[in-house]
Amino acid sequence: MNQPPVSSTTPETPSSGGAVFLAWAFVGIPLLWGVSQTFIKALDLFK
């Protein structure tokens, strides 16, 4: 393995918070769009 051993208590760095936000937005926006479309369709049941 090329990487040096990593301590078993390595903390998660808060510095990558922006990357995490962008990553979740990348998958979350299409998912929310799909869910909203389905929800709108589901409302027909209650009309």
Binding site: L31, K41, L45
Partner: protein, 469 residues
């Protein structure tokens, strides 16, 4: 030794400080894409009218609904088979190479199917979307599972629930997207009712979208653990700190008991999903509800949409809850509560209690989705993290079996009741009682699950990259 390529497992080991919350979006990028499979039905009408050009009036030479139904069936069977066959390869090469293979197969399936549509050759569509695309489904479905479990040993259910929730959500994106693309290409005059151009476009979109997962995914270093995480000290006999290989897992009764658990849960859920639209329309027709008050086709589509939402939510909710409740208890709830609710459905239909009927169906479907999402964590608890992706892949043959068995049982029982003269909700009565009976089998199988015999454990520390050094 030649320098490892960017795709090799050794090049995907995360460095210090890598944020593990980047892994679920990487997994979701794959599952949201391949979840498109559940939206394939939007292509059935246009594909069945490529010659006539009018979905309302297919020509004699057009493909029939039965012929078109085989496309999805092939894809689901190949999903199970490829997950079973390629699971050990995945564990060896790591998630990045597997995700890329999945992306190439899944999008490649669309490209080949587009050619089949253009040439009006159904065999090419079978091969493209069914076989090649189906292999992409299988590899993609299991590709992030063991990686997620390694990153989230403290929240296995939450982690796998998030990814597998994506498979449910993928259809919600693909369905309106596909309809919009077909409308656009149809009016652009590209022929084939816009289907071939839509297949090509979806292939490109999914190929690019899945790259996010391919290049974001990382595996943790062998000795990495979340801050403050202390492995279980065997308070729960069903959570092991040992490891069982995929080959040895097949020799254990626990694997086959969970195979039955998944089979029965999925078969019963398919019973509702398969019949959801006609079921609610026939059970709550004008005859039952009063003139002009029956459930219309549009409202039935809304019912199907609502079930999809609960299928999605159940994957995350139940799988996350299983981290607290324990997997065995969670499945006992799926089956115990499921038996009561399935048995209740015919009565609610008979008594024309629509609101309660909808609530019960939504809870049932949430547990159907939950069953899919909780199984990887159950496997990890019993067999360890070592080859859980491969073991999960082999277990998914139960899904393929349920995909064939479920519709067969439902259609046979429903047709039999109709032949006896029953109509409306009564025509579905035996379907739901049979499904409740299946859940009894699942409950017993789950009840019989115990800790795996230590003789199946790997001796000594396991290699995270078997054969890779």
């Amino acid at each position: 030794m030649a320098e490892a390529s960017l795709l090799d497992r050794s090049r995907t080991v995360a460095g210090p400080g890598y944020n593990r919350w980047l892994i679920p979006p990487a997994a979701l990028a794959i599952h949201l894409a391949i979840g498109q499979a559940y939206a394939f039905s939007v292509f059935k009408k246009p594909l069945g009218a490529l010659i006539s050009g009018d979905p309302a009036a297919p020509a004699a030479a057009d493909w029939t609904p039965t012929q078109l139904g085989i496309i999805f069936s092939i894809a689901i069977v190949l999903l199970g088979l490829s997950a079973a066959i390629f699971g050990k390869w995945l564990e060896r090469v790591g998630p990045r190479k597997a995700m890329l293979a999945s992306a190439l197969c899944f999008s490649g399936g669309f490209f080949i199917a587009a050619l089949g549509v253009h040439l009006h050759n159904l065999w090419i569509v079978y091969f493209g979307y069914g076989v090649v695309g189906g292999i992409g489904l299988g590899i993609g479905y299991i590709s992030p599972v063991s990686t997620l479990i390694k990153w989230f040993p403290d929240r296995r259910g939450v982690a796998t629930g998030m990814a597998i929730m994506g498979f449910g959500g993928g259809a919600m994106i693909a369905s309106p997207l596909s309809v919009a693309l077909m409308d656009y290409f149809k009016t652009s005059g590209t022929g084939t009712l816009g289907v071939a151009a839509t297949f090509l476009t979806l292939g490109v979109i999914y190929l690019l979208f899945m790259q996010f997962g391919v290049w974001t995914i990382r595996v943790p270093a062998d000795d990495w653990a979340p801050a403050g995480y202390v492995p279980s000290t065997q308070q729960n006999a069903l959570i092991t700190n040992n490891n069982v290989s995929a080959d040895n897992a097949l020799k254990t009764p626990q694997f086959w008991l969970l195979w039955v658990v998944l089979l029965t849960n999925v078969t019963a859920g398919i019973g509702v999903l398969e019949t959801a639209s006609p079921l609610v329309q026939e059970s709550f027709s004008d005859a039952a509800m009063g003139a002009g008050r029956g459930v219309t086709a549009a409202a039935a589509a809304g019912f199907v949409g609502l079930l999809s939402l609960f299928n999605l939510l159940g994957r995350f909710f139940w799988s996350s809850a299983s981290d607290k409740l324990g997997r065995k208890v969670t499945y006992a709830i799926y089956f115990g509560l499921g038996i009561v609710l399935y048995a209740l459905i015919p009565t609610l239909g008979h008594n024309v209690q629509l609101a309660l009927y909808v609530v019960v169906a939504c809870v049932i479907i949430s547990m159907y989705g939950g069953g899919f999402a909780t199984i990887p964590a159950y496997l990890s608890d019993l067999f360890g993290k070592y080859q859980v992706g491969a073991i999960h892949g082999r277990l998914l043959t139960a899904w393929s079996t349920a995909g064939i068995l479920g519709p067969l049982i439902v259609n046979f029982l429903h047709e039999s009741r109709k032949a006896e003269g029953y109509t409306g909700a009564a025509a579905y009565q035996t379907v739901f009682y049979a499904m409740a009976g299946l859940l009894v089998v699942g409950l017993l199988a789950n009840f019989a699950v115990t800790a795996v015999n230590a003789k199946y454990n790997e001796k000594g520390p396991v290699d995270a990259e078997p054969g890779g050094h």
